[in-house]
Symmetry: C2
Subunit: 401 residues, 2 copies
């Protein structure tokens, strides 16, 4: 196609028309830009007569955060598109279908999911998703197993590492998750009433040592192809369907980072339930729903991953007696540690979550924030001694008793 | 230059003449092919009148081992040449200087080191190298520190990982070190008198579990640029000088794999001292020389690495209190585990070491082999509990008491 330039709505429509298995060239299409304009343009192109639609997502050559703008590689569009395709092959139906990728325009055309809602919003509104644990555990087990040295030829795995080398976006994660929240950094963003809590966070050396270890793992442990940013804002959902979107942070890293992201965001919603009065039955119902969900996700993931391993492990060494149990325990510990980091950064770091930030009353919000911080820091500090998902549940319950 | 083809001696001479900072075009040069013909051609080109010389090393497109021949990427010549140049910048004087690299011919022209001997041979002949511990600890500390996330910008590190992706040669290591020695595989090569020892090795599940963990680390832990094959046959030495050669197995992996290789090969020589009668003072002298050397290498490495870290660490997180001590202890444990694997493969695997294989008397050889096996398997099994180099020394002493 042409040189890179940000598309307008007319161009998005003409790209849509070129996909002749979806629209015909004489289709009447309408287009709306629905992105937030910080990192990407997102065009929703629809045909009112048939109800059909597609998404045209284009990477912008910069990132805008808190008013600042810095250059950001367009290669992330290739990474996102290729990650979606890899994930789609491994976990069919659990990511949007990719119809077209254009490297020059840094643009991916994909399945329209506007019948889904963003899971974060769904959870905030009290949604219940009876199939989510099954879906996300399948997504995690299959994408992680088959892109690891357990389920993939080790030489192809090394090509995968090369292909998904993602230095710029990994650097963002490294700074925002493993560095800035633990020091008094300008870009941190926290409510004034948390000033004392932040001071404690910044001076907690026992915590910092565990975070340094987890950051090292994030930097060096090339275990499997990760989504890289698997919070509930990267999941489109309905009671029947789950679609994991936006893998532009994909890279080959430690599996626990993805699993931990899912659990962390469920725990952030758990902490946000402070907004119900303690006598309100909804608070307890939601909390127990969320903890059961976490339990179910890890349990299902563990079962599915082990089954894939037993049936499709690529080599003899992976069947060494005791190795699988040892591996799964270390994976749970990584998961817990990364979950803790993902929680803390949403309270003390730059980017927050609506689950908590949208609580209008400052006192209630402070309670939720402190609950989240307590869960997050406890998970980080205890992660290397965790041996069961029940211990994670107990930590969440105890810190909010 | 021209298309790839194996060079002859005349061509090697004409390449030498083109290096006009060493020879002139009218120099009278002689050439001898001195490689073993298994993996590479090695031409030694000299000018008898001046005594000057160079080495022309060319990769062959196949590997020959025990009569079989299989294709092997020529890209390893690029990796070797670039690794030598990276190491040469970080550890000046400790690798041969590279004069020329030609990608098409898979050829590196480098410094002539024929005044040095291969360290394995030097040790077998009873050599003493008073500067070796200083040299190799500097080599290890500087090459490992400055190519890790501790001493290198993390985004450049990711480019380094990509550049030194070395799937084929890593696969050879993976098979020969972490897989084959632990099962009854055809290509294993061991003396008949070791049959029972091998059966024990093949059925020792506790050992296998530790090897599986170390193999996983080898496959996934992208910690620093390694030499990748740092045994005493990859070191040219004199009492005054140390030159590390042949980094064609270079890749970004766990640091302990390189440090462990050095220690393992000193321990193999240690085990080979069985060939002196137990009353011979030489046996005790050599053993104590070797154990002191190991102690000195780790101690100096540890000091130098920490000093580099303190003075040149690239980020705040690396200065987290307690992190360095924790990191160095894990590094020692990795080193010990990998050293154990490197010892065992030299007794039960395909490729052996002359230190032990050249012991003519079968009974004496068996003693040395069993001493090596005992040291190697103990290091592997205990590596995760090791906290000091003295414990490694004690293991060597106890298994040969």
């Amino acid at each position: 196609m042409s040189q890179y330039h940000p598309l307008n709505e007319t161009e998005a429509i003409s790209i849509a028309k070129s996909l002749n298995h979806i629209f015909t060239s004489d289709s009447e299409l309408v287009c709306q830009e629905i992105g937030d304009g910080n990192l990407n343009l997102v065009f929703h192109v629809t045909q009112p007569s048939s109800g059909k639609g597609i998404i045209v997502k284009q990477a912008l050559p910069y990132a805008k955060v808190v008013g600042e703008s810095w250059p950001l590689t367009l290669d992330r569009a290739r990474i996102e598109s290729e990650a979606l395709q890899t994930e789609g092959k491994l976990a069919p139906g659990l990511v949007p279908e990719v119809y077209l990728f254009d490297a020059t325009l840094a643009l991916t055309v994909m399945e329209d999911l506007s019948d889904h809602v963003i899971m974060r919003r769904g959870l905030i509104e009290g949604g219940v998703y009876p199939k989510f644990a099954q879906h996300i555990s399948t997504f995690l087990a299959r994408t992680l197993f088959y892109t690891s040295d357990l389920g993939m030829n080790q030489q192809e795995k090394k090509a995968l590492v090369r292909n998904f080398s993602n230095p710029e976006l990994c650097k963002i994660t490294e700074d925002l998750i493993f560095d800035h929240p633990y020091a008094d950094i300008d870009t941190n963003n926290y409510d004034d009433h948390l000033k004392e809590d932040m001071r404690k966070l910044w001076s907690d050396e026992k915590l910092h040592l565990e975070v340094a270890r987890l950051r090292e793992k994030f930097l060096t442990h090339a275990q499997a192809l990760l989504h890289g940013d698997l919070h509930t804002g990267s999941i489109f959902i309905t009671p029947e369907s789950t679609k994991v979107i936006d893998p532009e942070f994909a890279f080959v890293g430690p599996m626990g980072f993805d699993i931990g992201a899912v659990i962390a965001n469920l725990l952030l919603n758990y902490a946000s339930q402070e907004h119900w009065s303690s006598s309100d039955v909804t608070r307890h119902e939601r909390r127990s729903y969320l903890l059961n969900l976490i339990h179910e996700i890890w349990t299902l993931f563990n079962d599915k991953f082990r089954k894939l391993w037993d049936e499709n492990g690529v080599d003899r060494i992976s069947r060494t007696p005791g190795y699988q149990a040892d591996y799964m325990q270390r994976l749970l510990q990584d998961t817990v540690g990364f979950a803790g980091c993902k929680i803390v950064r949403r309270i003390g770091g730059l980017a927050h979550v609506a689950d908590i930030d949208k609580i209008p009353d400052a006192n209630t919000r402070a309670k939720a924030q402190r609950a989240a911080l307590a869960i997050g820091t406890t998970l980080i500090k205890q992660h290397r001694t965790i041996t069961s998902i029940e211990q994670v549940i107990a930590i969440a319950e105890e810190t909010t008793r």
